[in-house]
Amino acid sequence: MTNEAQIGTDASGRPRINTTGMEPPGPFVAIMGWIETHPDAPEVVVCLERDPVYLFPELTDINWDWDYLSEKPGAFELLLKRLPE
């Protein structure tokens, strides 16, 4: 287990947060915290071990949307996007 999310960029240059190996609520905190501290970021790719059903209500609340990029058991990749106001 790790306490830190791996933050970098993907092949297309989009910011990418890898939360693999983090204990709950670490992935939630890392992703929502990144969004909160990057108020101008239009999108971010996130990698998780579980389908983040707990994330969707909070994303909706701050006017963000999500698309599944890839999904395998134990490895989910989503693109989170800020919606226009």
Binding site: G26, F28, G33, R50, T60, D61, D65, E71, K72
Partner: protein, 432 residues
């Protein structure tokens, strides 16, 4: 908006295995909200008997169990059966036990509280049987998940103590009910005190603190607090609980006092870690729910201090009732209501994010007014209720009951408005 996953079966299977049919946990939350109103209504009618209450069947015991079973344990069941799978990433092996739980628990609570109200031995025994069976099923659901969990060690350790306490309190509860008929216990009041400590501090207290270790950092967007401090707090709390039970069992007041101080240190350490989360979290505006939660933390410390004062015989004739009120209404009920107002819309929204239809915002799920009204009335009712018990004023306690009832009715309004949004979302989504 979300596109349909490329392998929809895989994603939805994973999510749905962990998300129960939403009405299952919601039923327990609705029961809790309605019983909450019933409890305050009960306080109005038994206000004269509460300050001097020290035990035994009758309306006060009925109201007490409507609170502990109908509100607290119903909330614990609703939260645990849904949040544990989400937090641990483990699925329920089968939904049958969770469904069975509902059918055993509700008639059990009804029968037991009616039995206490009328001092009817048959209803008390039948209720105790149903409630015990229901909570054994609950114990099975939770422990089967705790066995398999490989993460969240601190929260899981709290949950184990909670489940061990549940096992103990059920055994003592059955013994107490049978004692009304057979008079076989050597000291009924002492056993009742151990039953209450196991229920309030062991079962509910450890569950609340364990969930707090996950939910508070999540709501505040904070890193998890220091694991070392968390484990020190857990150790002190376990030592405090064991010490109080041993002290009661062997009637050693000095041991109870030492255990209370140890428990107080453990509780203070836990609160310190929670405040660290709030101070270091990225989200500072946590709303009304955290006003209640912070108040509840204060009441947790106060209740332990009052417990120690009770042992020292400093609280007079109203001591047992005052201690019980601050512990159950001040600490646990306030904490539960603070958490529930976050969890109920959150769980509803989680179940509104699966279709190709935009879910409403959390803030749009329910009106804000009922929560404001509830918080104001709840705080007033707790302060007025505790003060009235302390000075043995039943009129003040009746007023607290009326105010508390208005607050509880507002909370029912809040829960139904969330449900209304939930059904309206699914109706609209089905039409699109």
């Amino acid at each position: 908006m979300k596109k349909a996953p490329k392998l929809p079966g895989m994603i939805l299977m994973d999510a749905q295995r962990r998300l129960l049919p939403p009405l299952l946990p919601f039923l327990f939350f609705i029961v809790a909200a309605v019983c909450h109103a019933g409890v305050w209504l009960g306080v109005i009618f038994v206000a004269e008997d509460i300050p001097s209450y020290t035990g035994g069947p009758g309306p006060v015991l009925a109201v007490l169990h409507l609170l502990t079973l109908g509100v607290m344990i119903a909330t614990a069941i609703g939260a645990a059966i849904q949040l544990l799978p989400v937090a641990t990433g483990l699925a329920h092996k089968s939904l049958l036990p969770a469904r069975l739980l509902m059918w055993l628990f509700l008639p059990g609570v009804l029968s037991l509280t009616s039995g206490f109200l009328d001092a009817n031995q048959f209803l008390m025994s039948a209720g105790a049987l149903f409630v015990t069976l229901a909570l054994m099923v609950f114990l099975h659901i939770v422990t089967s998940m705790l066995w398999r969990a490989t993460t969240l060690k601190l929260a899981i350790a709290h949950a184990w103590i909670s489940m061990a306490s549940l096992f103990g309190l059920l055994g003592l509860g059955v013994a107490l009910v049978l004692d009304f008929e057979f008079a076989w216990l050597m000291d009924h009041q002492n056993t009742a005190a151990q039953h209450m400590i196991l229920a309030a501090c062991g079962f509910m207290g450890f569950l609340a603190i364990g969930f707090g270790n996950i939910l508070v950092p999540m709501f505040a967007l904070s890193q998890s607090p220091s694991g070392r401090e968390g484990w020190v707090s857990w150790t002190f709390l376990v030592a405090g609980l064991v010490g109080v039970l041993a002290g009661l069992n062997f009637q050693l007041n000095a041991l109870i006092l030492i255990a209370a101080v140890v428990g107080l240190i453990g509780a203070a350490l836990h609160i310190k870690t929670m405040f660290w989360c709030l101070q270091n979290g990225m989200r500072k505006k946590l709303g009304l729910s955290f006003v209640l939660i912070k108040g509840a933390w204060g009441m947790m410390l106060l209740s332990i201090a009052l417990g120690a004062a009770l042992v020292l015989d400093l609280l007079g004739d109203q001591g047992p009732a005052l201690f019980g009120f601050v512990l159950l209404f001040g600490w646990l009920l306030t904490y539960i209501k603070g958490m529930l107002q976050r969890i109920v819309p959150f769980l509803a929204a989680m179940n509104m994010s699966k279709r190709n239809h935009k879910p409403p915002r959390l803030s749009e799920l329910a009106a804000g007014l009922p929560l404001k009204l509830h918080a104001l009335c709840h705080a007033l009712a707790i302060v007025l209720g505790a003060a009235s018990i302390a000075v043995d004023q039943s009129v003040g306690l009746q007023a607290a009951g009326v105010i508390g009832f208005i607050g509880a009715a507002s909370f029912v309004w809040f829960c139904f408005s969330v449900l209304q949004s939930y059904f309206s979302y699914h109706r609209t989504a089905a039409q699109d």
